[in-house]
């Protein structure tokens, strides 16, 4: 079997330059990983290993310090996400690459079903159809129906996370990045999420995920990449302690 990776990350590193403190903070060092259609690559490693940094680097919320991230777009074009034009990244975010984080930033004036349906509406789907689909997935994730019409701003952590997941999964991107998507969910809801992720995988979506729970890695991962904290981070924390 030889499936081609949709994303190939080669020697990715990220170091934050903190001008105010005059310090460099290495976050990820020399990361190699691949993501394949219909498969899930799990990132594991201790806190501080730069797992989230890798995901944010792929999404370009962080600018990579070095390395290549070759993404194969739907039209076959090879794009290095590390250096791609910003307009190109915005297009990919709209059509091909999704990100589900632990946090949800929404407007206090937007209803939950609108939040979930928005990626589909932006892609050009009819609003009523998109809302219908949003309701369906919110139901599958056990989010009480009375919450669908109100803003997620006041929701609990677990409820917000479900809204985030619903939005990310519903958009059916070609590559989905998941940063601890089940961190504050109960076991029953987590099982639902596992089912939904399996379903999405079977439609061909490639995933790169961080799970806090090794049991989930075993249930969902096809590949595992282990990260180590970059050398020098201990020094950073030590020297900052000395200053303080």
């Amino acid at each position: 079997m030889s499936i081609q990776p949709i994303l190939e990350v080669e020697d990715f590193s990220k170091t934050f330059m903190l001008h105010e403190q005059g310090k460099e903070l290495p976050s990820s060092h020399s990361v190699f990983l691949k993501a394949y259609p219909g498969r899930l690559t799990a990132l594991i490693g201790p806190t501080g290993a730069g797992k989230s940094t890798v995901l944010k680097g792929i999404y370009r919320t962080y600018l990579p310090s070095s390395g290549r991230m070759m993404f194969t777009a739907e039209n076959g074009q090879q794009i290095d996400l590390a250096s791609a034009d910003e307009h190109q990244i915005l297009e990919l975010r709209k059509d091909e690459i999704g990100f589900v984080t632990q946090f949800l930033h929404t407007l206090p004036r937007q209803s939950t079903e609108d939040v979930v349906a928005m990626p589909l509406i932006k892609k050009g789907m009819d609003r009523t159809v998109a809302i219908e689909k949003a309701r369906e997935i919110l139901g599958q994730l056990n989010l009480p129906e009375r919450l669908w019409g109100v803003s997620p701003a006041t929701f609990s952590g677990g409820e917000k996370q479900r809204v985030n997941l619903a939005r990310g999964l519903l958009a059916q991107p070609r590559l989905l990045l998941l940063d601890e998507p089940t961190a504050s969910l109960d076991p029953k809801t987590t099982d639902r999420v596992v089912d939904l992720i399996q379903n999405l995988k079977s439609t061909g979506t490639a995933m790169i995920a961080i799970f806090h729970d090794m049991d989930l890695v075993e249930r969902l991962a096809d590949e595992v990449v282990e990260l180590e904290p970059p050398v020098g981070t201990e020094n950073f924390f030590n020297s900052s302690n000395e200053v303080a």
Binding site: F16, M17, L18, H19, E20, K56, R60, T61, Y62, L63, E86, H87, I89, L90, E91, K94, L107, R109, I121, K122
Partner: protein, 278 residues
Amino acid sequence: MSNEKVLEVRNLSKVYGKGCLKCFESTGPEHNTNICPHCGSVVAAHNISFDLYKGEVLGIMGESGSGKSTSVKNLFFDENPTSGQAIFFDEGKQYDLFNLNAQQKRHLRNHRFGMVYQNPVLGLNFNVSAGGNIAERLLMSSLSNYSEIRERAIELLRRTEVLTERMDEMPKNFSGGMQQRVQIAKALATNPPLLFLDEVTTGLDLSVQAAILDLIMEIQRESDTAMIAVTHDLGVIRLLAGRTIVMKYGRIIETGLTDQILEDPQDAYTQRLVASAL
């Protein structure tokens, strides 16, 4: 957003004063000033370059005096640039903005561009009613029939949530937020493909700010209007802009995706700016 370019700005510069050969090399962020020490001229903007695509909102962020408003005013013909080029792409045609005659400029301003100023006095005619302000702009375009114009004005005011019963009142009777809505309705009257927003929410109550931003986002969702939003407010940038330019002392010091500018700013100044947000 599509891949159609609406605007291409290259090396736009604006100097207030007589200017000298040393103006550009003696000003900018590295000199901590935009005033030329040799001749006293103000370098309000220098080497401003960017592209804007259809349906995109570009944020221009910076403190007072950074040159962000100057850049936009040059593009809207409120000011004449000292040097530089700007090409506007519209319905298969290209317009070299700084080499047009007065009539061509007026045509673009009246029909293809929209502008919403921080100060409604600049964008509205205070001698005519709210409805009259919109009618003025419609009269300059194709509509000439009275009932058609009134119909369209009502539609626009309704969309911007101005009570249509008040359309025959003078703008001075309106609250600041309401004046801003009338300004937006007027700017949108001709369905312009390019909209400039210059500190549109500055100075308004928070709840009014939120409503105005909601309105702008709704317009952006419903139309393919490209927008340039000038603001010193990080919240406005976060909400509206996909990409952001950061300016200081007349220069662009950083440009990037908005979430990257806010979460991984590269320049020391941007890092300070983001860190000082509430």
